[in-house]
Symmetry: C2
Subunit: 437 residues, 2 copies
């Protein structure tokens, strides 16, 4: 496989060209290619499983942890799942060519804002081979070229998946070069320099890794580094809901970005809710770290300033007592990562104030932070969760993989006529679809 | 006025806080503040004009060019214009709190995607004092804090405008710190480092300046460096329209980003259109630079590879003969800056192919590139034109100054119930506005 920086730059140039061609393919053509990819995966199960078993053998020899080996395994069930995922993707409405706005600037001069593909997307992701299939088919559906760099543990599996997807799409009439598989870690640095050809980078992995990417490229990055999520139990909370939500947000899956890391409790309700919470967390083996006020009510390790900034991703929870709703909001906006924060309250005005003032991608009322996820939000497959306030914010599905262009259709109009006052703009919104697609 | 880096960082922190408070103000409150700003500008005309006259005197002493002095002048007429602009802005619909999508994830668990302010916007702009008023009032309307750095030529005018806008907004109940005026060039470098507090930078000015900003900050930048715009005269063009559009696109205002820099002509139509074009451009004092084929038909200076990449911003035009529509599209995608490109053709299929394959923010059919502008598009005031494919692309008005958040309202729902199969998602789109705003 390819390794030199120069070759990767050529792949970037080819991807840019292929992306333009791919984005102009009709919805039917792109869906036909997705069907061909799904069929090819089905027909090549044995080849995929053999490659994956070699990866797993190598992983075992290199003493990979059991959870990592589990994520790496790509057997019959997983293949069935990704094929089912492609079936669902084919059924989703076309994200391209949608008219978002139309207006008449003057008689016979009509402006349309139409969705388009972004161009070339670079995705750097963890060891799960299912991600290779999900990301590449999301890009195919949305008319984007994609350069993928998967985890090195899945080297052989990803190589086979790449060949199957590439060949099936090519045979179905898609342009060569729309998909490119990067195999070595050095290639990551090579693609970070391709800001002339790659329009968007999506890094998935550890905080440190995502931060490294953000700091070493001029390409816009979509995603998130930290997920420091809060649950705030308001003075007007229902105690039963508060308990269930806090336990779910912390323990349902501790090592993910939408798990709760800090619990905030209004001082008026703390004495009645903390003992039950303490008991529930003890049962779930969660270690509690509390501020001084918390430690006057329950047993907990003393919190330091650093605890409010820490994403434990573990059975550990920092707990703080706040003296008001606004104190809770200020803590979240100061220490949070703008990912997902929940208020538990029966007071509608407090819920409204929390939703309005908490500056996060996802702001929830009376439900677990763990709902922050593309699948649970009903977006089908997701490429990640963005904490940036530009482009896409929150869980990102197909809608985050498109851009727009303005198309203006006239009949010979020139600006001089309007500057001279010979003609006037009408600027009238109209209900019309872009007619040339 | 403030100059130290530390003070500017404190202003960034204050702006972040103020932005959150400002974004939670009601539409009526923000419009009332805009009204107060307009009234204060009206009442302080004399003070503004005096400060501006001092700037102009200094500019004359420093031998500023006449066009620059003209842009700097901010007299009664200009003040009237910006007040009229605020009147129009007040009438525009609120960009905040709009429900973009709503869906039921399950009974009693409802997801809303709602527009919000972005946060803190940094704007670095040229010498026109009107820009100070337009940008700050656009930010006030859209609930964003703003840090402005205007041209040094307009130092005293901008200082007075800042004081008037700041005081009027504060007296109308807006938070202190939502607007900040940076006065020295060193302050530009100080704000480039504030990626923790500033969410978006909008630089307006020369290519070199915009590029410098893009290369020296981690803050997302919205705007464009080059405007290398093309007109392509197709083999099926109407000659009269082609002539009028080419002349308008080149000469109606040569020093702006949406003026044509390169004219592409299909070889079949070149012999019939080039002589008339040559005559029209000679009359308009436009110097022509042509490729070899062009120079067999008309007199023109020989083009080099560099000419296709040059934004002249002057009475100079590069002209190239292409052998097909696809050749024109390939040239534009290779040498263009993704700003604005026009096809002149009576052939609908060719127009559709051009619109589909030209990868630019604005793609036009049978009209001048000079229409690419927020005012002409009917967006009212604009903050700039973006050639990025993320967030906003093309002329950017109020819509480009907002982000979104997901708000999920439940009644105690936890993820464990769905993971266990006790409950199922319904994922049903609903037609409902976010109810808590």
């Amino acid at each position: 496989m390819v390794t030199s920086t120069q070759t990767i730059e050529m792949a970037g140039i080819a991807a840019k060209d292929a992306g333009i061609t791919l984005s102009a393919k009709s919805e039917a053509d792109r869906n036909r290619a997705l069907r061909a990819v799904a069929d090819a995966l089905d027909q090549n199960r044995q080849k995929i499983i053999e490659a994956n078993e070699q990866d797993i053998e190598r992983g075992k020899a290199e003493n990979l942890s059991d959870p990592l080996l589990k994520r790496l395994r790509f057997g019959d069930d997983k293949i069935k799942d990704v094929i089912k995922g492609i079936d669902d993707l084919i059924k989703l409405p076309d994200p391209l060519g949608k008219t978002l706005k139309a207006s008449e600037l003057d008689e016979g001069l009509t402006l349309y804002q139409v969705t388009t593909a972004i161009g070339v997307i670079g995705v750097i992701f963890e060891s799960r081979p299912d991600a290779f299939v999900q990301i590449s088919t999301l890009c195919l559906k949305s008319g984007n070229a994609v350069m993928l760099k998967g985890g090195k543990e899945a080297l052989l599996t990803n190589r086979v998946l790449f060949e199957i997807i590439h060949d099936a799409a090519r045979d179905a009439g898609m342009p060569e070069g729309w998909i490119y598989n990067l195999e070595s870690r050095e290639n990551v640095n090579a693609i970070l320099a391709l800001d002339e050809y790659i329009d968007l980078l999506i890094p998935r992995g550890s905080n440190a890794f995502v931060r490294y990417i953000m700091e070493h490229t001029k390409i816009p990055v979509m995603g998130h580094a930290d997920g420091i999520c809060h649950v705030y139990i308001d003075e007007d909370a229902d105690l039963e809901k508060a308990l269930a939500i806090a336990v779910d947000a912390k323990t349902q899956y501790v090592s993910v970005c939408n798990a709760m890391e800090t619990l905030l409790i209004h001082e008026k309700i703390a004495p009645s809710v903390l003992p039950a919470l303490s008991e529930a967390f003890a049962k779930a083996q969660v270690k509690l770290i509390g501020d001084e006020k918390v430690r006057t009510i329950i047993t907990a390790q003393a919190a330091t300033e650093d605890d409010w900034k820490t994403e434990y991703l573990d059975y550990v929870l920092s707990v703080k007592i706040v003296d008001s709703l606004d104190d809770a909001i200020a803590h979240i906006n100061r220490y949070g990562s703008g990912h997902t924060d929940t208020i538990v309250t029966e007071n509608t005005a407090n819920a409204a104030r929390f939703c309005s003032l908490v500056d996060s991608a996802d702001v929830f009322v009376n439900c677990s932070t763990r709902f922050a996820d593309g699948y649970r939000f009903g977006f089908g497959a997701e490429v990640g969760i963005s904490t940036s306030k530009l482009h896409a914010r929150g869980p990102v599905g197909l809608d985050g993989l498109v851009s727009t262009k303005y198309i203006l259709i006239g009949d010979g109009q020139i600006v001089a006529d309007y500057a001279d006052g010979k003609k006037q703009f009408t600027h009238r919104p109209i209900d019309k679809q872009y007619p040339l697609s």
